[in-house]
């Protein structure tokens, strides 16, 4: 027999892993561009990426609910593609999480790329390396601590998410019932034993992850 808490835990891990993977693929080129550009777009784009840090999850959840609905822009698009509506699905949560965790991935990456500066790239270029070659053999290895920070923070932040998944999830077991929602329901129904079990687990997980992150970053050059 599987314990009750296993499905929400597995679902949360799947959501966090997928979110992190997508954010690293999107975030690395985006952060690289932001670190090197002089375009006027840089300030507004940075602002958009940072919005989830400032906005309450209810604002994001509420607008996502409107956007995903049959009259919303995303809802109309997914319906014309034959995908149906994304609210109350894993992919809806994934979309929300990607937006919500974006600053936690892009900002450390951007910091890492900015810390490297232009010199190593110029040196590599003067030795005849192509821009793409420079990026993969010089910039990425130098930014490694930043890459780790970004991935770990993106993952951990998604695990801890609550408001957005509450607003667009619908609390469906094995589909949208993630750990935070599951804990919330146990607290509401006064089942403190179950609530403690998972809350403690989550607390320890977060503490261990952040401790490792700070320890590792202190040993390397520390961009975080």
């Amino acid at each position: 027999m599987t314990p009750d808490w296993l499905p929400p835990v597995l679902l949360t891990l799947k959501l966090a892993a997928s979110t992190t993977l997508i954010l690293m693929c999107l975030g690395i080129p985006l952060a690289w561009w932001l670190a090197n550009t002089h375009s006027w777009l840089k300030a507004p784009l940075n602002a958009v990426i940072s919005l989830p840090i400032v906005l309450p999850p209810t604002v994001i959840g509420f607008y996502l609910l409107l956007l995903l609905g049959p009259k919303g822009a995303i809802g109309q698009m997914t319906q014309s593609l034959g995908l149906g509506s994304l609210a109350f699905t894993f992919y809806g949560l994934l979309l929300g999480s990607v937006f919500y965790s974006m600053p936690f991935v892009v900002q450390p990456l951007q910091n890492a790329f900015e810390t490297i500066g232009k010199r190593p790239m110029e040196a590599a270029a003067s030795l005849g390396a192509s821009p793409i070659d420079c990026f993969f053999t010089v910039a990425l290895p130098l930014a490694r601590p930043g890459l780790w920070t970004a991935a770990v923070l993106g993952f951990a932040h998604t695990v801890g998410e609550f408001g957005v998944v509450l607003m667009i999830g619908g609390n469906i077991p094995e589909k949208t019932q993630v750990i935070s929602i599951y804990i919330y329901e146990h607290v509401e129904t006064l089942e403190y034993g179950q609530a403690h079990l998972l809350s403690m687990g989550l607390l320890l997980f977060s503490f261990v992850v952040l401790s490792i992150l700070y320890a590792v970053n202190k040993r390397s050059r520390g961009v975080f």
């Binding site: 409107l66 619908g170 609390n171 469906i172 919330y184 329901e185």
Partner: protein, 250 residues
């Protein structure tokens, strides 16, 4: 009367007024938000006391009250929670009173989606049906009982989405993410105006949604709290409650 004596009179009166007017902190079940805002305004006009309102799920209020939340009065969505608070000495015994009897509706914002017999539940083409979480919300229990009575509960499992309380459930439906769902009549009736289509669920399909108010122990001597509880029984208030689609206790 001279200007000076008039000023003194006004100052004196306002002193009496502020000495007597108090605040009362009221926790209100989400389904009663509409009528409550109106009642609170009338209460302030009639008595000078100010009602400070918090809206949420009954389950959450129970936990908060047990942990020292500063509420004076609870307007619950059920009778079980006030009973339990009374038993646990968190509420003044004998202060419990039914202020409204809720009605459950199956509702869609689309016109002609839900018929007057509730056949849409079986024949309607929909992907999601929203209910309040039956573990924490009385209207969710009523929705579950209704579907069980109609032998649809298990068939509809894959289409169920749950809101944290009846307010969030309404949001799921209003935004069109769930095509239809079970909400409180008061939420769609809202002071006479009505939108979309609905089925008023027959009362024999679910246990009565009697909603009780209770005076919490810390407000035992709070005049404003007591004034509010008696105001809740006034004819004027009963008319407001009725206009939002609730039944009233006999």
């Amino acid at each position: 009367m001279t200007f000076k004596s008039l000023t003194l009179l006004i100052m004196g009166l306002s002193c009496i007024h502020t000495a007597m007017a108090e605040d009362v902190q009221i926790a209100v079940a989400a389904n009663f938000a509409g009528p409550m805002q109106k009642i609170a305004r009338q209460f302030q006009q009639a008595t000078g006391h100010r009602a400070i309102l918090s809206f949420g799920s009954t389950g959450k209020f129970y936990t908060q009250i047990k942990n020292g939340a500063p509420f004076d009065v609870l307007l619950s969505a059920d009778t079980a929670t006030p009973e339990r608070l009374e038993r646990e000495n968190e509420a003044v015994s004998g202060s419990r009173d039914t202020y409204a009897i809720g009605k459950l509706v199956l509702w869609s914002p689309q016109s002609n989606f839900v018929d007057k017999m509730g056949q849409a539940l079986i024949t309607g083409r929909y992907d999601h049906i929203a209910i309040a979480n039956p573990k924490v919300a009385p209207y969710g229990i009523a929705a579950q009982q209704t579907m069980q009575k109609l032998n649809l509960w298990w068939n509809l499992q894959s289409k169920l989405v749950q809101g944290e309380n009846i307010g969030q459930t309404h949001q799921f439906i209003e935004t069109g993410n769930a095509e239809l769902g079970f909400v409180a009549l008061s939420q769609i009736q809202g002071d006479g105006k009505m939108s979309g289509s609905y089925w008023l669920v027959p009362q024999k399909l679910y246990s009565p949604l009697a909603q009780q108010a209770v005076l919490l122990s810390k407000a035992r001597d709070n005049a404003a709290a007591k004034a509010f509880l008696s105001f809740l029984k006034s004819t004027r208030t009963r008319d407001v409650i009725k206009s939002y689609g609730y039944d009233l206790p006999k």
